[in-house]
């Protein structure tokens, strides 16, 4: 048994760890605390003043900027943020909370984990973003469904948005530096000790392959002082975020097509694929980087078949952002959608979800495709029965309602929340207690759909001119108009009926 070392950390706390390397990262050795509630990660290089100052900032001022504000408690789930700095035997270390249990494989790989032996290991995102790994290696109980993957993306976008709001950029976002749990829809950013503050701490690395922005790769050969050299920044984080969302929802890389840039040198070809020659595999006009469906390996179909599962199956809000990220903004960083826009589009897409009628469907949920007869794009099963579609409008002045370009799909067990009731309320880390409880729900009765009012004091059926008191219900039929709140920003539902 290795010795337990006791130190006093930068914040004055007592830190204890077992002096035995439990894991090795790229630049750090990781030791566990005796009670396994935190780890101490030591840099292998000798301690220097600049690194010490940077780590003290990250564990001090920057940490405070994120967690010391509204929603700080909620955000603790989204980051594994270093809490303190220690020094031992001439080396610098950071104290980091232990990952939550949901981020370790419970079942691992197939065949009772005899295939790979990964049970108990960290759920690095790469496992879930590769269709071959999903189909051939992972135990199906680890995979989650499409709704939970969407939630994972909401969490990631939220985590990145909050950092950007605080003036920080991650600089090495990728599936190595985020743990995800598709079985519950959680995500957590890790390895935050490399954070970049513009103008203060230059980035230490150029990023993780697959996620490095094209302008960074294209200019990587230039000197750091060269004005044309592009280093990781907020806008390169936005490229990485777009790639992550695309990969977690479609299980393929948006730039890895079959176009060959340099047949003689695989390394050079790779640099061009991700850098100067980067091209979206689903570019509407330039088809030269399509993924050839006939070359796919076992388990990769249908995910890598962009004709069967084009990005447009993710719904209109996300499709628009994918186009901005990979068609217009791929080589134009200023055009990339912000993390805030991603979070909004992802949250709105949750409202477009429909449960698949096929109990054997692996994805279980799919976004409404805006058609009168929707079907699951993953397994092809058509929707059964009537399908009410609620179009949200909100008041801008008394009696004047404008479309919010936001739809809510109705299914059994679907609920209405405060953020549906008023345009000024958005579901994020700042929402607390009472506002997170549902205000109404939907129920099917003898082939018709009803909205039941649970907590809306000003709800009114505008078409019929009748108030709907708490506890009462209203029939959802084509053209029905239902006011949820008479306040400014209050929502009006306009009902359309789809389905057979």
């Amino acid at each position: 048994m290795a010795a337990v070392v006791t130190l006093t950390a930068s914040d004055g706390s007592t830190v204890r760890f077992i002096d035995e390397v439990k894991a090795r990262g790229g630049v750090k050795d990781v030791m566990f605390s005796p009670d396994e509630t935190y780890v101490v990660a030591f840099y292998r290089g000798p301690a220097d003043a600049a690194s010490r100052e940077r780590l003290l900032e990250i564990t001090g001022r920057y940490r405070e900027r994120i967690f010391g504000q509204a929603g700080g408690e909620y955000l603790k789930n989204l980051y594994c943020w270093p809490t303190a700095v220690v020094e031992y035997a001439g080396r610098l270390g950071v104290v980091v909370p232990f990952y939550r249990a949901c981020f370790f494989f419970e079942h691992g790989s197939r065949n009772d984990d005899r295939l790979l032996g990964i049970r108990g290991r960290e759920k690095v995102g790469k496992w879930f973003a590769s269709p071959g790994h999903r189909a051939r290696f992972l135990d199906p109980r680890e995979l989650g469904d499409w709704m939970r993957h969407l939630r994972v993306c909401v969490m990631l976008a939220r985590a990145v948005r909050r950092m950007h709001m605080a003036g920080l950029s991650h600089s090495d976002l990728g599936y190595n530096n985020c743990l995800i749990d598709p079985t519950t829809g959680q995500a957590c950013l890790i390895d935050l000790d490399g954070l970049v503050v513009p103008g203060r701490h230059p980035p230490a690395v150029i990023g993780t392959p697959d996620f490095i922005a094209p302008e960074v790769i294209r200019s990587a050969h230039l000197d750091e002082g060269d004005p044309d050299r592009k280093l990781p920044s907020r806008t390169t984080d936005l490229h990485a975020l777009a790639v992550l969302v695309y990969m977690y929802l479609l299980y393929r890389h948006p730039l890895r097509g079959d176009r060959i840039h340099d047949p003689d040198d695989a390394q050079k070809d790779e640099e061009l694929t991700m850098g100067a020659g980067a091209l979206f595999v689903e570019h509407p006009d330039d088809r030269s980087n399509r993924i050839r469906a006939e070359d796919l390996r076992p388990g990769e179909s249908p995910w890598k078949d962009t004709r069967r599962l084009p990005y447009t199956i993710t719904g209109p809000y996300l499709s628009a952002l994918f186009e901005r990220s990979f068609v217009h903004g791929l080589h134009e960083p200023a055009l990339r959608p912000t993390a805030d826009e991603w979070e909004t589009a992802l949250v709105k897409t949750v409202d477009l979800l429909q449960p698949c009628a096929n109990p054997a469907c692996e994805q279980k949920w799919y976004p409404f495709d805006n058609s009168t007869l929707p079907r699951c794009p993953f397994c092809g099963t058509p929707h059964r029965g009537k399908l009410p579609v609620l179009n949200l409008y909100s008041s801008h002045e008394k009696g004047r309602f404008l479309s919010d370009k936001h739809r809510v799909m109705v299914y059994d067990g679907q609920s209405l929340f405060r953020w549906h009731q008023n345009r000024f309320i958005f579901p994020n880390e700042k929402l607390s207690g009472d506002d997170t409880r549902r205000v109404g729900y939907f129920v099917a009765h003898q082939g018709d759909w009803y909205l039941v009012n649970e907590r809306l004091s000003g709800m009114r059926d505008v078409s019929a001119g009748l108030d709907i008191p708490i506890g009462a219900r209203v029939l959802l039929e084509e053209g029905a108009r239902i006011l949820l709140s008479p306040e400014l920003g209050g929502r009006l539902l306009m009902v359309q009926m789809a389905g057979g």
Binding site: R44, H133, P209, D258, P263, A266, K268
Partner: protein, 212 residues
């Protein structure tokens, strides 16, 4: 198409490896494979082949994807020569045959890796001298050589590659650390291709001596 990362392991089975050393090598290979299987990047691209050399050259594991590898038990005769030169010739032929080249329409493999483990010095000195330029021209991204034990001759290996690692002892602990290092090198390589043009080896563990 996904590019493959072909890794050639070239292992000395001459008489002096008999006993504890070869047991340790087998255990080390098992650990290497186990560790590669838990790495989602390595699973995507890494393929392994094992060639042993004593008085004979044997390809004991043909090039196989990590997930499909069934490790053979490596055995060695009580005595015999150390035909490293001839083994490397075979591997150069294999490379020429197995590494898929890119074409205008299909992506080929990454540059392959070569790992050599020996506890002595080549007895086919002429063949060894002749094969060195061929190995250098074969297009390996990295050649890592391990000189194990007191009788190994690192100077012979430095003619082949700048990455020579020296093990003082030939016990399970040293081999275990060496294979762990190989695993880290291959794993890192399987995910970092594309970010930088040169293949950077992770620093070897402190118990191993690097011959410069």
């Amino acid at each position: 198409m996904t590019r493959r990362l072909l890794t050639y392991l070239c292992i000395d089975t001459s008489g002096s490896m008999n006993g504890e050393p070869i047991v340790a090598v087998n255990a080390g290979l098992q650990a290497l494979l186990g560790s590669l299987r838990t790495n989602p990047y390595a699973l995507d691209s890494v393929h392994l082949s094992i060639t042993t050399f004593d008085s004979e050259i044997k390809e004991v594991l043909p090039m196989t994807a990590v997930v499909d590898v069934i490790l053979p038990e490596i055995v060695c005769p009580r005595s015999g020569a150390t035909l490293l030169g001839e083994a490397l010739e075979r591997i150069c032929e294999q490379v020429a045959r197995e590494v898929r080249k890119s074409t205008d329409t299909a992506k080929g493999d990454w540059k392959p890796m070569l790992v050599i483990l020996t506890d002595g010095k080549p007895t086919d000195t002429l063949a060894y001298s002749e094969v060195i330029p061929r190995v250098r021209a074969a297009g390996f991204a990295a050649v890592v050589a391990c000189a194990a034990g007191p009788k190994a001759d690192p100077t012979q290996l430095t003619r082949l590659t700048e990455h020579v690692v020296s093990l003082d002892t030939m016990d399970a602990a040293s081999f275990g650390k060496f294979f762990q290092w190989v695993s880290e090198t291959v794993s890192k390589d399987s995910q970092s291709r594309g970010s930088s043009s040169a293949v950077a080896l992770p620093p070897p563990p402190p118990e191993i001596n690097v011959v410069l």
